[in-house]
Subunit: 348 residues, 2 copies
């Protein structure tokens, strides 16, 4: 029995009970720890262990499955709302695994007392975003939980897709491959943070939440040499690139000056003391490509409204150190890490 006592329990000498913290749901290192120490030992299997955004189901003809829950507050924020987020989360997780969406399953957990008009607006947004992405809600479940127990409205969206060739997998990444981002970073997380914590501030920061399946499938269908895709949602760009370095065991260099960021987003991040590389995006994709394919990939992405600001931001090196370094604008270099815990909470 541990002898460590917390303040609350000091009087009656009960041991401290390990409890979950917000940071363990943030998509950072603490989330990874919870997953690796608690979930994987119990539920681990070959498919789950691969830790991709979607699972390719064993026993079916390349059917992909993903699930994403949205607990964002506020429900509506500049540039989007929880309904658009719920559709895009699932659609984009399928798309980055090369899977075209076949249908969505929608689980609504609503609080007693929620205004019906709020639910209706969210459903309208789900319908509109589904129409844009070309995917339908084919099944669902609705629960209402007692007032005071619920966060108003939580949505879990599962998506099923058909994963055609080519297979995109981090195992295919090799030295010399280039790292691209399909547009400006940090807009979603900062838009939500400002809307939640500074609701009276008038800011131009708008969430980038968007379905990327159209752009990604045109890219995969038309251009060879795309090796890997991942959407930098919770954990941000840093989370994705650090993961790429760790999984491949190769060195990745990012060039800060090439990473697109809107002036007002940078301003908001500076003001709040937040690293924009660690902020969630919901309408961007990191693409790793063979160097000889990069011009065609840039052309294909930039031809899409959601990819017009695509930039080459990094390169995979030969050093087998599994580390990502950022070459800063002022000529320095620092080792990137995944965000540790809660930087921006409840924005996904």
């Amino acid at each position: 029995m541990t002898a460590i006592l917390d303040d609350q329990d000091a009087t009656n000498h009960r041991p401290v009970v390990p409890r979950l913290t917000l940071a363990q749901g943030s998509g950072g290192q603490l989330s990874d720890d919870l997953f690796i120490s608690c979930i994987l030992p119990r539920l681990g299997n070959r498919v789950l262990n691969d830790l991709l955004d979607s699972a390719i189901l064993p026993g079916a003809d390349r059917i992909a499955l993903t699930i994403d829950s949205c607990v964002v507050q506020p429900l509506k924020f500049p540039g989007g709302d929880i309904g658009r987020l719920a559709v895009c989360g699932a659609v984009n997780d399928l798309a980055v695994c090369g899977a075209k969406p076949l249908g969505l399953a929608l689980s609504l957990i609503l609080s007693e007392g929620l205004e019906r008009s709020v639910l209706e607006e969210v459903l309208d947004s789900i319908a509109a975003t589904g129409a844009e992405a070309g995917v339908r809600v084919v099944t669902g479940d609705t629960k209402v939980i007692p007032r005071g127990l619920g966060a108003g409205l939580c949505i879990s969206t599962a998506g099923v897709g058909a994963a055609g060739p080519p297979e995109v997998h981090p195992g295919a990444i090799r030295p010399g491959d280039l790292v691209l981002i399909s547009g400006t970073i940090a807009d979603h997380g900062l838009a939500v943070l400002l809307a939640r914590d500074m609701p009276h501030l008038r800011s131009a920061v708008r969430s980038d939440v968007a379905p990327l399946n159209g752009m990604i499938h045109r890219l995969l269908d038309e251009v060879a040499g795309v090796v890997f895709l991942r959407d930098p949602s919770s954990g941000g760009l840093a989370g994705v690139v650090v993961d790429i370095a760790a999984r491949t065991g190769l060195h990745v260099t990012l060039y800060e000056k090439d990473i697109p960021i809107l002036p007002h987003t940078r301003h908001a991040a500076d003001m709040l003391g937040i690293d924009p590389l660690e902020v969630a995006n919901e309408g961007k994709v990191v693409v790793v490509v063979r160097p000889e394919a990069v011009d065609n990939v840039l052309d294909a992405l930039r031809a899409d409204k959601y990819g017009k600001d695509t930039q080459i931001i990094g390169v995979v090196g030969t050093e087998p150190d599994g580390v990502c370094d950022l070459r800063t604008e002022i000529g320095g270099s620092r080792i990137l890490q995944k965000p540790y815990g809660e930087q921006l909470m409840r924005i996904g």
Copy 2:
């Protein structure tokens, strides 16, 4: 603008805002109303409109998709827990559509402050139930929401399955078909209700929560003449049979004396003044069969530990009235209705 004011708003003359009630998540008529008036007009499509437990995805080779959320309190109850419920809900929804599970997607919405050991127990239960059902969690998502906003632990489970022939669909039901239930009713809902509202009562009522896919697939593989299957979860046996009558437009007669119910469950229902026909089950299936197939179906179901108490409980008639009547034990008859709203809340 409506002139109706509620007490709270009487002083400042704001109009009443329509808000959600617990009853709208109960699986009864009010749930149907919410679905039909709010969700279907916005998200409706050919597949969703079919209102089956799983959707057969268009564009794929008979791939079925379902989703089920569990918000049960308490998390652990006699006979089961939220983890077993989360797996069985999805697996059974696939099974009653004739689909063999290929994989599960697990969305965990956890509250800050939840004891880690509670999460670990739930994960252990998910793993054990998955092993029993022969299905794995292949992908997932974990969010932690702030203390005070959350119900401790909510789980949404999506399941994907391969739906082989024969197709089971209410459209195939015709006069003369027999209605079977695979065992005793009302155990799950009453076990949860007693555990939640009367935690100090010692009762023998135990939830029946169980994965039925093994039993159902053996039945479908080995015996011809099964027309339709549905698990009587929220809404209970009454909900399923009333739906069958309404969807087929045929008269269904149920015989109360033939409906299996354990003595202590009947006693608990009587004590609480609850109609056991309206209480949720999580390990039972209603099966509609051709009359010539009934002996083989009975043999197949009774050979399984989850179907040993299977009984013929009703018959589909010729009258085109879409109504279900219950022949009572004392020789009377009453028209069955779907539960209206909240009878047993948060048990699914």
